[in-house]
């Protein structure tokens, strides 16, 4: 069974458009287990009941931003090992450095195409 069949992914973005775009791309890669959340807290809540291997999260979200979500994941035992791909509109050095320190697995700058997303995911989990 290929990795893509087993991989569980959660997409976190406050814009439903972005969630839809990413989910659509994931679907085209053959990843079927995709959950989504509109903000950090609901992502954490959903992860508590159905864990995933990889979280793909937007950086700029109201309330809890992507890095805050990453921090919450990393400081909580069961979610500590979840892979984290940050999507940013502005790839500031500051954001990337902070992500690095918090244990971000990879980042992807907007706008991106499905191939870019796939590459960013594969860099974390291996060939899909």
């Amino acid at each position: 069974m290929a990795l893509r069949d087993q991989l569980r992914v959660m997409v976190v973005d406050d814009m439903s458009t972005s969630r839809g775009l990413i989910a659509n791309a994931l679907d085209s890669f053959g990843i079927r287990n995709v959950a989504s959340a509109a903000d950090g807290p609901s992502a954490l809540q959903k992860l508590a009941t159905s864990p995933v291997h990889l979280v793909i999260s937007d950086y700029n979200m109201p309330g809890m931003d992507g890095l805050q979500l990453l921090h919450a994941l990393r400081t909580n035992g069961p979610t500590r090992g979840i892979g984290f791909l940050l999507i940013t509109g502005r790839a500031d050095r500051e954001i990337i450095d902070m992500g690095k320190r918090l244990g971000m697995n990879n980042f992807l700058k907007k706008p991106f195409d499905p191939a870019g997303l796939r590459a960013a995911i594969e860099a974390i989990v291996g060939k899909l």
């Binding site: 069974m1 990795l3 087993q6 569980r8 406050d14 814009m15 439903s16 458009t17 972005s18 839809g20 775009l21 659509n24 679907d27 509109a38 903000d39 950090g40 807290p41 609901s42 954490l44 809540q45 508590a48 009941t49 159905s50 864990p51 995933v52 291997h53 700029n60 109201p62 309330g63 809890m64 890095l67 805050q68 921090h71 919450a72 400081t75 909580n76 035992g77 069961p78 979610t79 090992g81 892979g83 509109g89 790839a91 500031d92 050095r93 990337i96 320190r101 918090l102 244990g103 971000m104 697995n105 990879n106 980042f107 907007k110 706008p111 960013a120 860099a123 974390i124 989990v125 291996g126």
Partner: protein, 742 residues
Amino acid sequence: MSDPMAEIRASFFIECEELLESLQDGLQTMDDGDTDPETINIVFRAVHSIKGGAGAFGLDNLVHFAHRLESAMDEVRTGRFHPDGEAIRLFFTCADVLGDLVRAARDDDTVSSDVTDPVLEKLEKLVGVEEEAEEDLDFTPTTLSLDFGDDMALPTLPDLSALPTPEPDPADAPLPGGKGFTIFFKPDPALYLSGNEPLYLFRTLRDLGDLTVTCHTTALPTLDQIDAATGHLSWTLTVHTEESEQAVREVFEFVDGLCQLDITPFATVPSATLPFPLTATPFLPPLSPPEQPASTAMLPDPTTVPETLVAKDTAVRVKPVETPPSESSAPAKPSGTPTQPHATVRVDLERIDRLVNLVGELVINQAMLSQSVTEAGLPPNSPISTGLEEFLQLTRDIQESVMMIRAQPIKSLFQRMGRIVRESSASVGKEVRLHTDGENTEVDKTVIERLADPLTHMIRNAVDHGLESPDKRLAAGKPREGHVTLTAQHRSGRIVIEVSDDGAGINRERVRAKAIEKGLIPTDAQLTDGDIDNLLFLPGFSTAQEISNLSGRGVGMDVVKSSIQALGGRIAITSQEGKGTTFSISLPLTLAVLDGMIVRVANETLVVPLNAILETLTLTQDDVKALGPQAHVVQIRGGFVPLFDLGAELGYRPPQESYVGGIVLLIGQEDGNRAALAVDGIEDQRQVVIKGLEGSYGPVPGIAAATILGDGQIALILDPTDLVSQASGRTRSRPPQHALAG
């Protein structure tokens, strides 16, 4: 739309409208002097999100503009630029252009660079953003090792089901403070085969202290593969107790060897170290409510953390997101601020309309059923009658709820008016500030959409004709800046929207002269101030001495009036010379249902809207006074009210000889005047479903719509104000000889 990309694209544009709205909102808040960083963040985020989405769809023009605006907003956000009034006005213009670009992209249209470039130029000049060079960011992705084991042997995700297994790690303690244990419990199939039931174990455990139970369902196979005799579930339980580990073990004594059982005390760590209230494991509804005090947590190592995270509530009861402070020192925003997102569902309007129609049918059906039951002569206390009574209540509740789905705040419309004011004031060289109030008043979606045109016209009128030029204002001792106020409120079952200006008021002499010149009124007409003001609503009336390019281009207030009337509304005007003019629109709450009084006139059944009826009375000899062969008045408590014979006005029969003993409905009109309508009898009072007539018949004077009654009969719904104004207009303007002849 089966193409997923097309669907996502469509939803992007809907989302853009919401973002544009919050952008306008944020700018308005900034314009009002608010310097809250969160407000600026909202503004920034709105532009940022539009840019992000547009990038994904390759909408380059939109991306380009949004990017420049985003950069400017970033300057504001980071405190490098402090916007003044002028800057904010420019931001508003940018937001307007951004909106144009969004809509152009949606409709495969383009916005000329003649529009966008000057705005960007101004923006650059004002804010002076330097395009930052794309930084070369070195980042090496870290690989995640996902061991899925042997594919064939393990079709499920073994390492996921193992994820929640608590390790003896301090940070894993799910609940801050106190003494207790975290228990991982995974029954072997033998446990079930020997007749044990985990639920009873959990209940016993609950006796030891507060218990939180989490069920792990990740090992559950798909339904076709499930073996009911094999347990697939495991649990993590946390129990707050002073009891010893031994006491906890004793609970599981009888299943010893039939399960995997790990018991870990969690009191080994200092309390309140969790940075975020994510409990280690999932929850089932707790058997007893866990007591978890909200706590502001210390972070393990503050230097590695960007911002303080504030714990608010337990994870199971995560509420709509509280806005955490953007700086560790800033206090958290109180809940209920507008920045708080709500959980929403987008539904195709067609589906809602279908539901509205079905509920309408349900109401009619219910009425028919009630009537049959009454006619069957069942006693009022029979189970059928009482059941029907409850059914009636439920139907009404459903109807109200359905109507509420269609209602939305009028805010989006008001925001559009902000732009109209900005653009129209700029084009006529006036300084105008728009004030809005009651933006959260909820109005039926259809009404909002259909109000846009008339309201736009009224706002333009207010700016163009209502307000004086800055010089004239100064000369009149007024501030240079004119004010236009737009308000909405619920008033006695209707929505009242007012557009007022603090301009010169209506120049009645000029209006009168113009009306005479256009032959709209006779030269010797005796008109009250109110009559003159209402001349503005006559077709083709325009008082602007020079027709500006803003208003008065063929579309007059008569068009505004008829669009309002088409919505079942009315428009009234009040004006004070030198002080300003107010247009007041009154609209029904919904276009779908109406509380009506069922009346009988000349063997016809009619519905009169209940909210129009002030009272009903039976006439005596003394009450009716004849003013002429066809004009009567009713004397009510010392005042006189014109009497109209409904049967005659609607052409059902000739006017009656005498009204003594007859029933009249006293009608209150928008302008505060009253009128009496003579009817033959009152039958009932009930809610009716409005079925429009215009699709089939066009507008009928005096008639608002139709409905279907309980017995299946069609009845017309009266528009009393229109009927009275038609009737009184006829009596007033009709030359006497015609009245005598006919």
